[in-house]
């Protein structure tokens, strides 16, 4: 490809007269956008008319705007590029809100272009009018209502800049219909960002030196990494692996950070947190030095805060200053890009600091004891499919392939995180912060559009998947052969698990009666349906799913009452985990005390 081509294109288009709708399409081109997920409507018709008359940008029609948002998130998360969605005014914008908040909490770069009623009608309760910037203000990193054509090019370019720099996030540009028709001068993306926005990416060298000094004296260190490492790009994951290799430190990761360090790596402890492994959580509790990279001490991670890692000194690397000392007090805060700071750490560590392998030996011996506890164990069963077994088989039968995994939210999500081995970043798309049921199916669509030849699997639950099932229709339309692997236990499993823990096993509305026949449903959409009920038939069924070259719904009937362990019950500390072999009915019923009951 000719490297000069884009630059020439910019010059060609700079200061060109065009309509607002033309500007939108040109700005998408100039910002490197190839795919847009959207749904048309009255207030965005001029933009859709422009999309119709060009071939550079492919539009993916979804079936609901929430689906467009999650598809754009999956697209962004699996490529490192900005995901783009296009929605109409009123209900189009309000339907996008869940996806915007999801992207905000998981730091996913997203640009949402929404239509608005003409400026003259704003405030008159016009048809399909809503205060889009008002509604989306708290669920975006930034947003604009562009009232004048002269402001449109800058707003569009800034939207892309803000969405993908610093801590990434969603941005909304709301464009009234008359502005889409108005003519103005288009300007190319400006390199100079606005003066009030300048995220810090380089870490403070003095702090980094202190961190190295502290790390080199550690006897019981642990690295706790998060989604920030994935967001910092593939090089950051590479540096993380190098840092682990150099220091010999054990490493655990949040749900969002899986894959940055390979699950097959020697120093890997597994995921930490509420449903993390025993060894990861015990190492966090007993460590003397904690190195947190691109994670935010979320409540799913820390458990009871006043008992969180009580004897450690903590180093926290984060690009967002507001993440520092928000939940947990840290000793050495380093504000900067995870990749840049790790580059400094690796360089300084190489230059001098050394841990004697024998210094860490007792710590590793302790970790081996915890590992021996085998906290992810479950009782095998040759009559019914155990959900953990289903994930393990799915992993074994797909690991040699170019595979991407998305999930919905609930027990299946945790089992996927525990039992599927992620070897590389950007391969795991899940709703971590907001916990959005219905995320996985449209996210898989977005991933498949970005990687047409890859194997994209949505590990789903029977309840979650119905929330955005309509996107099956979009997958069929766009020849996106996504595989929807449903762990069907006929319950909202995680809701039921909490009712068992907290509410005397009164299963209020967590049993889904009248589930659809998922095989027929797949066929009705024009996809392929598979049902599997026996463990010994599972491998063949999974292989069939992989081979079919169209969207598949796989109804995997699993043990209905299996629960997700290990678990740190609400209000408990890392060293008070409920392990699978201890989780008797009585232990489950009494796991959470009165103080923990009000927590989520």
């Amino acid at each position: 490809m000719d490297q000069r081509a884009p630059a020439l294109k910019w010059q060609e288009t700079s200061m060109q007269e065009m309509t607002g709708a033309e500007m939108v399409v040109q700005a998408l081109r100039d910002n490197g956008v190839e795919h847009v997920f959207g749904y048309p409507g009255g207030a965005v018709l001029p933009i859709y008319d422009e999309l119709f008359q060009q071939d550079d940008i492919q539009h993916i029609l979804v079936r609901h705007e929430q689906g467009a948002g999650h598809a754009a998130e999956g697209y962004a998360r699996s490529t490192g590029k900005v995901g783009v969605m296009l929605v109409t005014s009123g209900p189009g914008a309000t339907n996008a809100v869940t996806a915007l908040q999801d992207a905000l909490m998981d730091s996913i770069p997203l640009v949402c272009i929404s239509g608005q009623v003409p400026t003259a009608l704003i405030g008159s309760d016009a048809f399909q009018e809503c205060d889009t910037v008002g509604i989306t203000r708290p669920c975006t990193k930034h947003n604009w209502l562009v009232r004048d054509i002269s402001e449109l090019p800058a707003a569009l370019h800034q939207a892309f800049h803000i969405a993908q720099t610093g801590r990434p996030g969603p941005v909304v540009v709301d464009i009234p219909k008359d502005v889409q028709f108005a003519k103005g001068s288009y300007v190319s993306p400006q390199t100079a960002p606005r003066t009030s926005y300048h995220p810090r990416v380089e870490g403070d060298q003095e702090k980094i030196k202190q961190a190295i000094e502290l790390m080199s004296t550690a006897e019981r260190p642990v690295i706790y990494s998060g989604g920030g490492v994935v967001n910092a790009g593939p090089e950051a994951s590479h540096l993380l692996r190098e840092l682990v290799e150099l220091t010999g430190f054990p490493i655990t990761s949040t749900l969002m950070g899986l894959g940055a360090y390979p699950a097959s790596g020697e120093s890997w402890l597994g995921m930490l947190g509420m449903h993390g492994t025993y060894e990861a959580n015990m190492a966090m509790h007993d460590c003397d030095v904690m190195l947190c990279i691109g994670a935010r001490f979320d409540d799913r991670i820390t458990g009871r805060l006043d008992a969180f890692s009580p004897n450690s000194r903590k180093i926290h690397i984060d690009i967002d200053p507001s993440s520092i000392n928000k939940n947990v007090h840290v000793d050495i805060p380093i504000i900067g890009d995870a990749g840049r700071v790790m580059e400094d750490l690796v360089r300084l560590w190489r230059a001098g600091a050394k841990t004697e392998k024998k210094t860490l030996k007792p710590w590793w011996e302790q970790i081996e004891k915890w590992r021996g506890r085998n906290s992810l164990a479950y009782k095998p069963n040759n009559k019914v499919i155990m959900p953990q077994y289903a994930i393990q088989r799915l992993y074994e039968l797909t690991k040699e392939r170019d595979v991407y995994i998305t999930t919905e939210v609930g027990q299946h999500q945790m089992w996927a995180a525990q039992h599927f081995g992620f070897e590389a970043p950007n391969r795991w798309m899940t709703s971590g912060g907001l916990g959005t049921m219905g995320y996985g199916l449209p996210a898989a669509l977005g991933v498949q559009i970005a990687h047409p030849d890859a194997l994209v699997i949505d590990i789903a639950g029977d309840a979650s998947v119905l929330m955005t099932m309509q996107e099956m229709s979009a997958a069929v339309q766009h020849n996106a052969p996504i595989k929807i692997f449903i762990l069907n236990n006929q319950y909202m499993g995680m809701v039921r698990q909490w009712q068992q823990l907290l509410h005397g096993n009164r299963l209020s509305h967590s049993y889904t009666e009248a589930l659809p026949d998922f095989v027929k449903l797949a066929e009705a959409y024009g996809g392929h349906g598979i049902r599997c009920e026996k463990p010994d038939e599972l491998d063949d069924a999974i292989n069939e799913m992989i081979e079919v070259d169209k969207p598949v719904i796989f109804d995997c009937r699993v043990a209905n009452l299996a629960n997700c362990f290990p678990m740190i019950p609400s209000g408990k500390a890392h060293n008070e985990m409920l392990l699978p072999d201890e989780a008797t009915d009585e232990a489950v019923a009494n796991a959470i005390d009165s103080k923990g009951r009000s927590l989520v």
Partner: protein
């Protein structure tokens, strides 16, 4: 390693905050664009922070910069969060904790002034007393007839509060306050 790196207990959750609340005055320099005040106020309400007083006006017309002065209360941990959360807002240029700056420069607090318009109506002794007290507080009469006075008073919050309290039994009918404007002493800018 220096002394500050001793092991720390982490605690802001189940155990109630043990740190004491403090009052701080923040100066926030923002681009004067639509919605910027809503972003600031929304941040405070959304995250459950306190606003005791809020004042806003464009201060640099050519650069379209507004200065928002916020008086807020919270524990040191919450106050640190407020500052960082404000700095995350895209059109926010700078957030300066004027109270902290004042302490650094050896002062007790920044210079803070508030203006209030106070309407008092009545006659007889109360009216004479109101006028006498207004004089003592250096409040100016900006409107009057035989039935009422409107006083303009400028000063620290405590002085304004005290004046209003004193006027209460003397026929106070209406008060309007501007909120606090604040700068720090000395030749340096913020």
């Amino acid at each position: 390693m220096n002394a500050q790196l001793k092991p720390t207990g982490s605690a802001y959750f189940i155990t109630s905050e043990t740190e004491r609340s403090e009052t701080r005055t923040l100066a926030v320099l923002v681009d004067n664009e639509p919605g910027v005040l809503a972003r600031v106020i929304g941040l405070f309400s959304g995250r459950g922070y306190n606003i005791d007083s809020l004042t806003v006006s464009e201060t640099e017309h050519e650069r379209h910069l507004s200065r928002i002065t916020i008086v807020t209360r919270g524990t040191p941990h919450v106050l640190e969060q407020i500052k960082h959360q404000l700095e995350r807002i895209v059109p926010v240029h700078r957030v300066v904790d004027l109270t902290v700056t004042a302490h650094e420069r050896g002062h007790d607090r920044p210079l803070e002034r508030e203006l209030a318009l106070v309407k008092v109506s009545g006659n007889g002794d109360d009216r004479v007393e109101a006028l006498r007290l207004a004089d003592a507080f250096r409040a100016q009469v900006i409107d009057a007839n035989t039935e009422h006075f409107i006083f303009e008073i400028t000063g620290r919050i405590s002085k304004v509060e005290q004046f209003i309290a004193i006027m209460q039994p003397l026929g106070l009918v209406e008060v309007c306050r501007t909120g606090v404007a604040a700068v720090n002493r000395g030749p340096e800018g913020m």
